[in-house]
């Protein structure tokens, strides 16, 4: 692997000296340690590069712009709403996949994970065809309720939920499979219906998995670009989330784009770190 800048290479060199000494002490095998640290560098170096190239002098000016806060607020609100949508529909879906043996379950599971591999832009077009004003479902929403989703904040939430839901479903299903189904049986022998057993026993038992899935989904929704811009368009304050603002700023003003990215990064790190602390205290 080639490291792009001198600085990371120097960093890698100092690391190489350090781990060897440490491996002698703690017995971390080198064949694991070296790829692990390379992987870490691979993830961290681009972020460092972003920090290095940040136009710090113009940052205060960039960040005090009302547009930035508008986009940030919209991003946070829509990502949180999308996570809520994922929870409401995704947790029962995960339960169905984990606990009910129905024909074609493997196929359904594959379909659920499809948005993971689908290019988000294609996902956005698919959403337009389904829920757009002229879509196979959307035309009825429009005709019966007068609801059109594209170009609205609700559209942003739907696009984000579409790409984020698989993360939640996979995470929750995994936790459900690992959880002992006999607790549900115990609840049944105590007179609990399947739904009561799910609500009062299973749900609290898999809460950590749900939280982990929700955080993944939230993070995915926060960074969502392709499906959002395709399905919901781009209008400041209504559908222009941070990633869209970053992309469009990049067209003419890369410095502004970096500044915006930095804000997004800082907010995500703050939220994820905050949640992690809470889990550790709970666990």
């Amino acid at each position: 692997m080639t490291l792009p800048a001198d600085q990371p290479r120097a960093a890698a060199d100092t690391l190489r000296g350090g781990p060897r000494r440490r491996s002698a002490r703690t017995g971390v095998p080198l064949p694991l340690l070296i790829p692990a640290l390379t992987g870490l560098a691979f993830l961290i170096v681009p972020l460092i590069a972003l920090l290095v190239r940040t136009p710090w002098h113009s940052l205060p000016e960039q960040l005090t712009s009302a547009d930035v806060w508008q986009a940030l607020r919209l991003s946070l609100v829509s990502a949180t709403a999308a996570t809520a949508v994922c929870l409401v529909f995704g947790v029962p879906l995960a339960w169905l996949l984990a606990r009910v043996d129905f024909p074609g379950r493997g196929l359904v599971r594959a379909l659920v994970t499809l948005p993971l591999v689908l290019p988000p832009v294609v996902g956005g077009v698919a959403l337009l065809m389904a829920l757009g004003r002229n879509g196979i479902v959307g035309q009825w929403l429009d005709a019966w309720f007068g609801i059109t989703l594209p170009f609205t904040t609700a559209g942003v939430v739907i696009a984000e939920a579409f790409v984020a839901m698989p993360f939640l479903v996979i995470s929750v299903e995994g936790t459900l499979r690992a959880a002992d189904p006999r607790y549900e049986e115990a609840a049944a022998t105590l007179g609990a219906s399947r739904f009561t057993a799910f609500r009062r026993v299973t749900l609290p038992l898999i809460a950590p998995g749900i939280a982990a899935g929700a955080v993944l989904a939230w993070a995915r929704a926060l960074g969502e670009f392709g499906a959002t811009i395709t399905f919901a368009g781009n209008f400041p304050g209504r559908t222009q989330t941070m990633p869209l603002a970053v992309y469009l700023a990049l067209q003419s003003d890369p410095e502004a784009a970096i500044a915006l990215s930095l804000v997004l990064l800082a907010v995500s790190i703050a939220v994820l770190a905050g949640l992690r602390d809470r889990w550790m205290r709970a666990g």
């Binding site: 077009v125 337009l128 065809m129 757009g132 004003r133 002229n134 594209p150 170009f151 811009i229 395709t230 919901a232 368009g233 781009n234 209008f235 400041p236 559908t239 222009q240 869209l244 992309y247 469009l248 700023a249 990049l250 067209q251 003419s252 003003d253």
Partner: protein, 272 residues
């Protein structure tokens, strides 16, 4: 030779309004084709070979693809590879070191990014111009006849974002007409704006005339006078680090030749 030219020319002219124009283009092309091919051929018929990489604005896709095929026919042994995209992202990849021979941009502003970075060889030249049109749903159900009509409250209009060339041009046209317009969305490029109308999610979009032409009967174009104030120049330039300079020069020559201009005007572009 003649039959081959006929076959090749049919594609770009698909959907052209007048059959006579096609005939005209046909005769013009066969003659000018031999004209332009004479030059590169004389500069060394066995000399041109290898791959030519052309970075071109998305709106040039149809016409440049045709020209690329012609170029390969004229110069056996060459291969034209295109990368079509938003002019800004293309400019960014060129300044970022992407190996390309030719850059054809949809705006002088994006070309300036490349020339400012010292990545162009020689001064860029304008080879076509593009003007704006309103794309409406087929049959123009909302009876849009002017830029002003787009301000109607229940009309869903999408515009290109001001950061991209078509958006900047739209803004210029709106300013020229003293109009204010609140769209439902500022799309990230002209194709995205057009797609919204094609999918009937939006009622109208302000896009390039070439895009309306390329969309065929999926949209209907409406011309408006303010577009005259927002005509976009398309510059083309040879790149400094071009791996295949000679072939690149020949391709630029083809684009600027009468034959190339016919293909481009067939797609709806204006002459420079």
């Amino acid at each position: 030779m003649t039959t081959r030219t006929v076959r090749r020319i049919r594609r770009p002219l698909q959907g052209a309004a007048v059959a006579a124009a096609a005939l005209l283009a046909l005769s013009a092309c066969s003659s000018s084709g031999s004209d332009s091919s004479a030059k590169p051929d004389s500069s060394g018929s066995g000399k041109l070979s290898g791959e030519v990489t052309v970075f071109a604005a998305a709106s040039l896709k149809e016409s440049f693809t045709t020209l690329g095929e012609r170029f390969e026919k004229k110069h056996p042994g060459t291969k034209v590879t295109f990368s079509f995209g938003g002019s800004d992202s293309l400019a960014a990849s060129i300044t970022g070191g992407a190996p390309a021979d030719v850059f054809a941009s949809a705006s002088p502003k994006t070309m300036k990014i490349v020339t400012d970075a010292g990545d162009a060889s020689g001064a860029p030249v304008t080879f076509v111009r593009n003007e704006l049109e309103i794309a409406t749903l087929p049959g123009n159900p909302h009876k849009v006849s002017s830029l002003e009509d787009l301000a109607a409250p229940d009309l869903k209009v999408v515009l290109c974002d001001k950061e991209v060339p078509c958006g900047a041009a739209t803004q210029k046209a709106l300013d020229a007409g003293g109009l204010k317009l609140t769209p439902v969305s500022y799309e990230q490029d002209v194709k995205a704006a057009l797609t919204k109308v094609e999918l009937k999610e939006a009622d109208a979009a302000v896009v390039y005339k070439t895009d309306v032409r390329a969309a065929g009967d999926k949209v209907e174009g409406v011309r408006f006078p303010e577009s005259a104030d927002a005509v976009n120049d398309y510059p083309i330039a040879l790149l400094k680090d071009a791996p295949n300079t000679e072939a690149a020069k020949a391709f630029i020559a083809l684009v600027r030749s009468a034959e190339g201009q016919k293909v481009l005007s067939g797609a709806g572009f204006l002459k420079p």
